[in-house]
Symmetry: C2
């Protein structure tokens, strides 16, 4: 097992090894996570999402620099499957954020989906826990698109920034799908493009149409041009303002509890599946079902029922 | 319960009601699916994916018209969260594909993610089963992006088309992330844009770098301009060629078995979770764990273990 003290003291090699264990679903990761849990809970977690090509990496690179100027230790977890960091893209892109690689107060890791359903948001949450325990003040999770993974990952963050660009209209389309509700900050990148004002207007319209309760955060639109840093200082300030807002009237505590609750439910789900699949895979009925599908394409719905009919789940704590 | 004969005879109202039941996870849907299963297995399933804004809807609209000219009955399932059909976008877009709405041989349905992890690909597979039993010759599943949902949904299709556009480079980025391996047809839409030739070259390069085994399908690049129908006839032919290719040497049978196997495993997983969560939610330990999180943020990792410790999974069919 990894030395927990190495994580808490912020050793980046140990942190990187730990994140690898999480990705690999190594059983020892669970024990380490339990041990470091009491040292977590201090970081501000920002989720940044947006379609490929809107300039997320460049923007986050600029944001890192800005937060460093404010003397914040900053961690990045890239779970964007098309992200340069997570191995999606060409070398030039991959190097873009690496100018911070030599800074001991910046820690950038990518996480790949290993194909497990829902596994990525669980792994991202585990990784946030590690970076949090390592002492990073701000942790940015980068995701792409508007799929379920993004909605799940947004559910880990305290503050969600959605990046879009003017002119295409499709940014807006993507946003409208469920992820709109989760956006705290709308980032209109490449704001020197034509139609930037129209896009800003449209975003503000959408925000004004969201149901707002008294005392809830009103989402903000920030225009940026990541390439030359335009608007990035303001963007950092908006995120910090949101954090200050959350720290009032117990809002952050409430949000943290919701996040922990989802984490707990995800953990239970994972444990149940592990335990049951292990029991199933040794079962004769399961092996026979696999053979039947292989041989003649028997109705999988009935087969699944048959297999499950042999499984009993009893709860000794109940009621 | 719905009348199974109404589904098999292709009644669109009944089909629509059935898909609603699937989305709502109505228990009666499972019985209907079992009953119609023997009437499925004849359709050619095409998956079409690509980032928002690449013109998927317009392209699919043109593809519907082309397949109709070839006298194919065609069904569409849109699981793209940003799709005009699945309710993402503005009215003008929503209407785009609706010129086929009056054609009794075209059936277009959208499916929304109800927030269940992995639930969307399961629901999409169920819906494909319905459209297949209804007698549609070709079923197109539309998804967006490059997330896990898209990879899962691609796993339902016999043939996967990936739509990208020239000039941005990000289309390629998105493609490179895992979904590349699953692409059978690469569709370069808006091919009148500058850099179309460069993008085509890049796509062909990527295809040539994929590991190819003897007798495997070599992915094809098709240049289209969905707005005026350029290349759409060729695209339809490429899909049909791929289908003809799959129908040789037992390839389609093999692929179908793989799909059924994943479907079976997904069904078992769902049943396990349903059964366990039902057992858990009545348990004292689970309720106590929820309270502990609410009260003081106890380590969810240990809580999950405690709760699971009280759960016993016995397998009466084993070994």
């Amino acid at each position: 097992m990894l030395d927990i003290n190495d994580i808490i003291s912020g050793d980046q090699n140990t942190g990187a090894r730990m994140i690898r264990l999480i990705e690999d679903r190594d059983p020892s990761a669970h024990e380490v996570l339990k041990a470091i849990y009491p040292h977590s809970g201090r970081a501000f977690i920002i989720g940044i999402t947006g379609s490929p090509g809107v300039g997320k990496s460049t923007l986050i690179d600029a944001l890192i620099a800005e937060f460093r100027r404010l003397d914040k230790k900053i961690g990045i977890i890239a779970v964007d499957p098309s992200s340069p960091i997570s191995g999606g893209a060409i070398l030039g892109d991959r190097l873009r954020m690496q100018r911070h690689a030599a800074d001991p107060n910046v820690f950038i890791r990518s996480m790949a989906s290993r194909g497990q359903k829902g596994g990525l948001s669980r792994a991202a949450k585990d990784a946030v826990l590690v970076l949090d325990a390592m002492g990073y003040h701000i942790i940015i999770i980068e995701t792409a698109g508007a799929g379920q993974t993004e909605v799940d990952v947004a559910g880990i963050a305290h503050s969600v920034g959605i990046v879009t660009i003017p002119g295409t209209g499709d940014g807006i389309q993507a946003i409208k799908a469920g992820i709109l509700e989760t956006g705290d900050v709308f980032i209109l990148n490449k704001c020197d493009r034509p139609d930037a004002d129209a896009a800003e207007f449209e975003l503000n319209m959408m925000i004004s149409m969201r149901p707002a309760s008294p005392g809830s955060w009103k989402a903000v639109v920030v225009k940026t041009r990541a390439l030359d840093g335009t608007g990035v200082k303001e963007l950092a300030q908006v995120f910090l303002s949101h954090y200050a807002f959350l720290n009032q009237e117990g809002r952050l505590e409430k949000k943290k509890k919701e996040i922990e609750l989802r984490y707990f439910q995800g953990l239970v789900t994972d444990l149940v599946l592990e335990k049951t699949m292990a029991a199933l895979e040794t079962s004769k009925a399961y092996r026979e079902a696999l053979q039947k599908i292989e041989l003649n394409g028997t109705d999988p719905l009935s087969l699944a029922e048959t297999v499950m009919g042999g499984i009993t789940i009893s709860n000794f704590n109940s009621p």
